[in-house]
């Protein structure tokens, strides 16, 4: 069972290695990288590539580790007890399974995505140490132990907003998705738009990588932005010449909204273009 990338996803050698090692040794794989380099997509594609179902657990700032295991709904049980509902006698009726429980008890091996773990509280990863290590946990309310039937392939993504605790890192494998070089970027575009014209890609890539070089951008455009931008360029049938016209005084690329997500960055570009025009005079 080896992950080799899919038709829709270009995996570099080191990424393939990391995924395969994590699958073989049954360790969670922690993925970091710039936003838009395909961290979340990786889990989907690993699931597709290995032919396993995918269970996604998206983390928010209010997410607690316990919610991934199970939740005991004491409030509705109390309400039911007042209403004299029969259900109230069995506590199991008020236990809601979390994503980890779901993944542990699935009939076949699954891929579990824990998305953006850094969004949660600092203590969140620490609360999952034993669960991820032994792949089992104890349900106090019913006194049962939930144990993984098949150890799921766990993929964890992080945007580096908070540092993760050492004890947690010790238990994971780690991979940093580098920003793709031009070669890889061409492969990625070919995967998404097989029939896009070569010259358009070449010109767009030039513009795109030039744009990333500009110092001081708040958010550098990344792969997903490039893909969106190409889609727009194709839809609008912008002739290649417009992109080719490398006049620095027109520093703002057509349909820039897909590339620049920050008005300060757009202002910066405008300023640069303006300064350039002044120099030309």
């Amino acid at each position: 069972m080896k992950f080799e990338g899919t038709e829709r996803y270009v995996a570099t050698d080191d990424l393939r290695m990391a995924v395969n090692a994590a699958v073989a040794l049954q360790r969670p794989l922690l993925i970091k990288g710039e936003p838009g380099t395909g961290k979340t997509m990786l889990a989907e594609e690993v699931a597709a590539g290995l032919g396993m179902p995918l269970i996604q657990w998206h983390i928010k700032s209010t997410t607690k580790a316990q919610q991934g295991l199970y939740e005991y709904d004491a409030v509705s049980r109390l309400r039911d007890s007042q209403l004299g509902d029969e259900k109230v006698h069995d506590i199991a009726n008020y236990i809601k399974k979390g994503k980890l429980w779901e993944a542990f008890t699935a009939e076949e091996q699954v891929v579990l995505l824990i998305d953006e773990i850094d969004k949660a509280d600092i203590e969140f990863p620490n609360d999952l140490l034993v669960e991820l290590d032994r792949m089992e946990f104890f349900v106090y309310e019913t006194g049962e132990t939930v144990k993984a039937k098949h150890r799921p392939v766990i993929i964890i993504t992080s945007n580096n907003e908070k540092e993760l605790p050492d004890a947690f890192l010790r238990r994971c494998f780690f991979h940093f998705i580098n920003f793709p070089d031009k070669e890889t970027m061409r492969e990625i575009i070919a995967v998404h738009y097989p029939d896009i014209s070569k010259s358009l890609v070449a010109e767009a890539m030039e513009v795109f990588f030039d744009l990333r070089e500009i110092p001081g951008l708040k958010k550098k455009p990344s792969t997903s932005e490039l893909i969106d931008w190409l889609k727009l360029l194709m839809a609008d049938e912008i002739p290649d010449e417009i992109l080719k016209e490398r006049d620095p005084s027109k520093a703002i690329p057509p349909l820039y909204g897909a590339l620049m997500k920050n008005e300060q960055d757009v202002h910066l570009l405008e300023r640069l273009a303006f300064m350039h025009r002044r120099e030309m005079r």
Partner: protein, 391 residues
């Protein structure tokens, strides 16, 4: 088994533990990687390094440790069991080639000869016509032209001409911040202000009971937001030349503060604050943040901590144009005043020992500006500073 490599990594400051070494060995035993140095590099990096800031150090340690191995990689690849080599070798040959081998006295002799030369040879070899290596016309080695040649090792689909770890792509991710001492963290822990803000997701038992009783026993659930440390901190670091001797302790303080405070922002300045500060020392000249923006963005409940030696000429604080780096329209003291008007709590932490403060006039000036809220960068000093900030 790879213990030296493990220690090599620890020596360059990558926090690896026994557990990771065992993982690595387990992976090797299970043949996750086999017979390729590149793959081994990727796998060991995935296993041993858990933060991209250590990638550069890992690359260097890897290069250092496996330098010799790399020089001998052809030979290592050649040391696969003989039977396997022979079977694989025969499979690849056409009848014609097999006949040609006979000119050298048959396969047995060829392999015999090969081993003999391996023993004679010390080190990697390229070109030439006798030794095992790459690109030569000897019968042994890779990519040779001799028709009777043994191609050593599998036909690697390895496109990379440059060894990945020698490229050191991760150079600028290494921020060289050593993990801070626990002591500093404990001192910073004093700066805590627990508050209940955000989504109400905790059952407020007391209020629920009270409210239920008032409701004549009909359940009335009350929720409250969870308690957490809501303190917000803004750090300003002096990166001037006179701070160089204190870099290490400042780094420790920085990394301790980083793990301790959820809401923490930092900026750099040189000697004293003027109209702008910056976040990136490499691009300090073209990426500056106006101090006014800082004051507008971060609300007044932020605690301000300066870290600097406050050692400069007094005119750098008191005179317009006093900055050593640029022309400042207004004196630094005016900016400090503005900052103190916006924020209630401002402290200055000085890495210079308290006994030496009176030797430098500017320290006294800064202390006056801050109404004596300057503390030495010692545990006691930090505790005092945090105590003042929480008051």
């Amino acid at each position: 088994m790879l213990v030296n490599f493990f220690h090599c990594l620890r020596d360059v400051g990558i926090p690896v533990t026994t557990r990771e070494l065992l993982d690595l060995l387990e992976g090797l035993q299970r043949h996750v990687v086999f017979g390729s140095v590149d793959e081994f590099y990727y796998f060991s990096r995935t296993c041993m390094v858990k933060d991209e800031k250590y990638f550069d150090r890992f690359d260097r340690a890897f290069a250092l440790h496996f330098e010799e191995l790399e020089a001998l990689d052809d030979i290592i690849e050649a040391l696969i069991p003989e039977e396997w080599l022979r079977a694989e070798f025969l499979k690849q040959l056409s009848e014609e080639e097999k006949a040609k081998i006979e000119t050298l006295g048959g396969l047995e002799k060829l392999i015999e000869e090969f081993k003999k030369r391996l023993e004679e040879q010390k080190g990697r070899h390229q070109g030439g016509n006798k030794w095992v290596g790459t690109g030569g016309t000897s019968p042994f080695g890779q990519q040779g032209y001799h028709p009777e040649g043994i191609r050593v090792g599998p036909n690697g689909g390895n496109k990379k001409a440059v060894k990945v770890w020698d490229r050191r792509e991760y150079k600028n991710l290494d921020d060289s911040v050593e993990l801070g001492t626990r002591n500093i963290k404990v001192a910073l822990r004093r700066l805590r202000r627990f508050a209940r803000t955000g989504a109400a997701d905790e059952l407020d038992l007391d209020d629920t009971i009270r409210s239920t009783a008032r409701n004549a026993g009909l359940l009335d659930i009350k929720m409250v937001p969870e308690r957490h440390n809501a303190v917000k901190v803004l750090l300003f670091f002096d990166v001037g030349g006179s701070m160089d001797p204190h870099v290490k302790v400042c780094e420790e303080l920085f990394s301790a503060a980083r793990t301790e405070f959820k809401h923490m922002e930092y900026f750099y300045f040189h000697n004293f604050i003027y109209e702008s500060v910056w976040k990136n020392n490499i691009r300090r000249h073209n990426e500056r943040t106006p101090l006014l923006d800082v004051m507008h963005k971060y609300s007044h409940d932020y605690k301000i901590i300066f870290i600097g030696d406050a050692s400069m000429s007094p005119y750098e604080i008191l005179q317009p144009g006093g900055s050593v780096e640029h022309w400042n329209e207004e004196p630094g003291a005016a900016w400090m005043q503005r900052l103190r008007e916006v924020y209630d709590k401002v402290v200055w932490i000085n890495p210079v020992p308290r006994e030496d403060w009176h030797y430098t006039h500017s320290v006294g000036v800064v202390r006056e500006l801050l109404e004596e809220h300057m503390y030495p960068l010692t545990l006691k000093g930090l505790e005092d500073a945090m105590a003042y900030l929480t008051k």
